[in-house]
């Protein structure tokens, strides 16, 4: 077993993990942060997307030991402590950017990272930028609308 320290949503967490423990399992099973979903075995769906030091990453394609010492933000950490939603969550709500909601945590985390990384996003930029996140319900249009609303509004803050 390896001892690791993760700063998850602003709180330091010490964990004992097997080297082969995937970060997503450490988050879900050890830290009980089950907002981060698992949708595939092939690193292709993005349901497990979190931020590692502010950048989107698929937590199923990292060992927890690789994240030792890193800042991790999960969907549980993006709203304000008073419950005010993150601008991206608010935009998903307003634009009906979800149906079953399974892809949503990963989609929101990927979108927060995307608008930080690429200024001046247009429709195609959002579609390309979210190509690693699959949604089996919405047909994507409302997700694209939500992300564009945040990208164009100047309120992209990835801080919780």
């Amino acid at each position: 077993m390896e001892s690791i320290t993760l700063a998850v949503n602003g709180t330091e967490r010490n964990l004992e993990v097997e080297p082969r423990t995937l970060l997503v399992h450490a988050l879900r099973d050890d830290l009980r942060l089950t907002g981060t979903n698992i949708g595939c075995d092939s690193s292709s769906c993005g349901a497990c997307t979190v931020l590692i030091n502010g950048q989107s990453a698929k937590s199923c394609t990292m060992f927890a030991v690789q994240a030792d010492g890193a800042d991790i933000t999960t969907i549980e950490g993006v709203a304000d402590s008073d419950g005010t939603m993150h601008p991206m969550q608010q935009a998903f709500h307003e634009h009906h950017a979800l149906q079953c909601g399974y892809c949503t945590p990963g989609m929101v985390m990927a979108a927060i990272s995307l608008v930080e990384e690429y200024p001046d996003l247009d429709d195609q930029g959002v579609r390309h930028g979210l190509e690693g996140n699959l949604c089996r319900c919405t047909g994507y249009q409302n997700i694209v609308n939500a992300v564009l609303a945040v990208a164009g509004s100047g309120s992209k803050g990835s801080e919780s």
Binding site: G46, A57, M62, A110, R127, H128
Partner: protein
Amino acid sequence: MIPASFDYEVAESAEHAVALLAEHGDEAKLLAGGHSLIPMMRFRLATPTVLVDVGRLDDLRYINADNGTISIGALTRHSELEHSELLARSCPMMASVAALVGDPAVRHRGTLGGTLAHSDPASDLPAAVLALGGTIVARGPSGDREIAATDFFTGYFESALADDEMIVEVRVPASDAGWNYQKFNRRAQDWAIVGVAVADAGAGVSLVNMGSTPLRASAVEAAVASGASAADAAALAAEGLQPPSDLNADADYRRHLARVFTQRALNAAGVA
């Protein structure tokens, strides 16, 4: 699936990583971005018993230019290539090919050294390094050696690296004239069904997923050098090649794609 168990070692330096590789033999593997290795371990296609994590070697994350040569540290991530102003100015093909790899989350983790070492014939950046005539610097127990990209890819997922060698740097010539990259795929985020990289107005042409390794299209290069039109040169793109057949495309269709996309890439690179 959950990967098989392994022992985990954190490398403090490239030398340390190489020493650990030498100590553990072919049971050990380097772990860089993990974006090829971890998916293979999850499918149990790879079951290394020791992983040597080089992902923390931040001193191997750099992009420098000196006298017409660009040196890139092996741990440089795809997203760092994509957003590099130095590359945008001095070797735009590397930046723009990097931007086509996978999706943003993949690019935040995957490294240049990792994608070269993995030697997947369907991968994008190896083809760019090959077309540019780059050089791979490998560190082993007895020091560094330079391997020309043209000698580096030796077989299906096989490279000229020894079991105890690590890529520390990749060098490409500064080159901003007459380049283009064509990536043909059908699904978002996917690898190329066929890809074509053209550097230096057709002096370097390489093909993605047209054989067991990334390939130089020498017949096309020779035709361009002797003044052939893009159409005539591109007609030779699949000459002598045995591309794979899979669910995406059979070999004949790949040959067709190679000719079509080579012509487009040559045209876009300024070859009439």
